[in-house]
């Protein structure tokens, strides 16, 4: 079923919409959430919460594309779950991607946030826009999807090592990009 019809079902408040959504994106969502939370049970829980999030958002929203909308909701839920898990010292691929990012930003530790999330998101978008498509995908797969290097390398057809090197350069570039714009985190 195409996304438009799924959205129509949501608008009609038909629970079949959720089934269709799960049928179409369930595996993708579960894999994605797993990358962040690091275990199947939590991933499944996050995915179900994400479906609920979509159910609550549509209507009034009519997202296009639906997949990205769903993934975005799922990411937020999964990240929150991750944080809760982190308190219990459970790690995941997301931990690794976060650790990588840690060195990619300049600024002072343990100080108040200098920039708001949205502002930072805009800066990141600006940075992403400057990248090649492939680099952007690599960056996103790693830091948005928290995907392991191995999977990224399969997706983009590079070796794992090449992806790692490229990510290192991207982090360096991002650091420079932020520094040039006086963005301190």
């Amino acid at each position: 079923m195409d996304d438009e019809k799924i959205i129509e079902l949501f608008f009609a408040r038909s629970e079949q919409g959720i089934s269709e959504l799960a049928g179409k994106y369930g595996t993708l969502c579960k894999n994605y959430s797993y990358n962040i939370v690091g275990n199947s049970e939590d991933a499944e829980e996050c995915v179900n919460d994400a479906y609920l999030g979509v159910w609550n958002s549509i209507p009034p929203q009519k997202p296009n594309p639906l997949k990205a909308f769903l993934l975005k909701i799922l990411r937020n839920i999964s990240v929150n779950k991750y944080k809760a898990n982190k308190a219990k010292k459970r790690s995941s691929a997301y931990t690794a991607s976060l650790e990588e990012l840690e060195g990619a930003v300049c600024g002072q530790e343990n100080v108040e946030a200098y920039v708001e999330n949205r502002e930072l998101a805009l800066a990141i978008e600006g940075f992403l826009a400057k990248l090649s498509r492939e680099n952007r995908v690599i960056f996103m797969r790693r830091y948005w999807f928290a995907e392991p290097l191995e999977q990224i390398s399969c997706r983009v057809g590079l070796t794992e090592n090449a992806v790692a090197v490229r990510l290192a350069r991207l982090r360096e570039k991002m650091k420079k990009y932020f520094a040039e714009r006086g963005i301190s985190i």
């Binding site: 993708l28 997202p63 594309p65 997949k67 990205a68 909308f69 993934l71 975005k72 990411r75 937020n76 990240v79 997301y94 991607s97 976060l98 650790e99 990588e100 990012l101 840690e102 990619a104 930003v105 600024g107 530790e109 946030a113 999330n117 949205r118 930072l120 998101a121 800066a123 990141i124 978008e125 992403l128 400057k130 990248l131 090649s132 498509r133 492939e134 680099n135 952007r136 995908v137 996103m140 797969r141 830091y143 948005w144 999807f145 997706r155 983009v156 057809g157 590079l158 070796t159 090592n161 090449a162 790692a164 090197v165 490229r166 350069r169 985190i185």
Partner: protein, 411 residues
């Protein structure tokens, strides 16, 4: 935690980036021909790659410019290569240039030669018959990773450039000095590539020194050298042309500017006076790359691009066939973007046929040669494959063609 903040911000970015990353499927590797956007490039790909390496060869032959290493001896240090035992020294070895690899002496060979690419496994025949070569692009960041050593050759797998990135193998033939071999064998060496254009400086200073011995013969050796050598090489060395200068920056390091200039000159993008002017302006600075970079920063539209647009049309008279030029424009359009349309190879085949006809009509080749080439073309699915299948015979053909270009260049 800073990273968490970034990660949170990432959660708010535009969905288009998410969609892009989610839907991304890697496109096929660029077919070598797909890189070619200019007529000259088409010509070169059809006939000219055979010449590649010649420039390097001449440079290597320049007085005192480069020290050629005893590769036979060095290659016998097979232990340094672990399980990869080097085969017999490859035929192209004498054309290799001298470079520094992580402060150690090494040799690299520009990868423009099809034969070389093929030999090093950078170009290969796919099942379907397309020739694939990965070509580097963009500003040079050479601290790349690399793949396995095969027969003593390292293939760097990845180049990242300022504006985009792609796979860009650059083959390095590492010459293992005993010390280096030892370090390598112990796994203590992390290779990284250090191009500081030492060789350009070395080349210039060596040439300077050489010429200074004959002050009366070479009152102004640079002009003389340029006139007698560089321009000669320009006429004789063909290379595939690229849309921008970046490729040259990326791939050739020490000879980049010369190659770039020569390429632009050969492909009618710049005229002789521009060639000379830019050559002087940049080549003899201390750091060629820095000069180019700074120039580019000052003016985003690199001068060559401007020049090329203006010169290209003025010079196209050397081929007067309208059909060829129409096709050239079509191919040119197809190669504007990063993605190459699938019909490009077909158009390039068409171009190959048109050129063959044109060369026949203008007496560059005989009917017999023409028919032979036609047979070859009919047996392959792409122009690149023709070279793969008939590399030896294509060499003579390319020679004829280069003479043709040269003869008509200044008319």
């Amino acid at each position: 935690m800073k990273a968490e903040k970034i990660s949170e911000a990432l959660g708010e970015i535009d969905e288009k980036y998410i969609e892009e990353a989610e839907d991304y499927k890697r496109s096929r590797k660029s077919v070598v021909l797909a890189h070619i956007g200019k007529l000259a490039a088409c010509l070169v790909l059809i006939f000219g790659i055979i010449f590649s390496g010649r420039f390097a060869y001449y440079l290597a032959q320049a007085p005192g410019a480069f020290t050629m290493l005893d590769t036979h001896k060095k290659q016998s240090l097979g232990g340094a290569l672990g399980s990869h035992k080097p085969s017999m020294p490859p035929t192209y070895w004498d054309k290799a240039l001298y470079a520094k690899v992580y402060g150690k002496k090494g040799v690299y060979k520009p990868n423009e030669s099809f034969e070389l690419c093929f030999e090093l496994g950078m170009a290969k025949e796919l099942g379907a018959g397309d020739l694939v070569i990965n070509i580097g692009s963009g500003d040079f960041t050479a601290e790349s990773t690399f793949g396995e050593i095969e027969d003593g050759a390292l293939t760097i797998e990845d180049f990242t450039t300022e504006n985009y990135s792609k796979e860009a193998p650059l083959c390095f033939k590492i010459v293992f000095t005993p010390e280096f071999a030892e370090e390598w064998a112990r796994g203590k060496v992390t290779l990284s590539f250090d191009f500081k254009f030492d060789d350009v400086e070395k080349f210039v200073s060596a040439a300077d020194e050489y010429m200074s011995q004959f002050p009366s013969a070479y009152p102004d050796w640079k002009e003389t050298y340029l006139e007698q050598n560089v321009l000669r090489l320009a006429s004789e060395s063909f290379d595939y042309a690229c849309d921008g200068v970046e490729l040259w920056v990326a791939e050739y390091g020490d000879v980049l500017l010369e190659k770039m200039l020569i390429n632009h000159y050969n492909t009618w993008r710049i005229n002789k006076s521009d060639f000379m002017r830019v050559y002087y302006e940049y080549l003899y600075r201390d750091n060629v790359f820095a000069s180019i970079t700074s120039y580019k920063e000052e003016d985003q539209t690199f001068e060559f691009e401007y020049i090329s647009k203006n010169i290209r049309y003025e010079k196209k008279g050397f081929v007067s066939d309208d059909k060829i030029w129409a096709l050239y424009e079509e191919i040119d359009d197809m190669t504007e973007g990063f993605e190459r349309p699938p019909e490009l190879a077909e158009k390039q085949m068409e171009m190959a046929h048109l050129l063959l006809e044109y060369m026949l009509e203008t007496g560059v080749i005989t009917r017999a040669e023409y028919e032979t080439e036609l047979v070859w073309l009919s047996e392959v699915s792409s122009v690149g494959n023709m070279q793969a299948a008939y590399p030896g015979k294509m060499g003579d053909y390319a020679n004829n063609f280069s003479k043709y270009i040269y003869t008509h260049k200044d008319k």
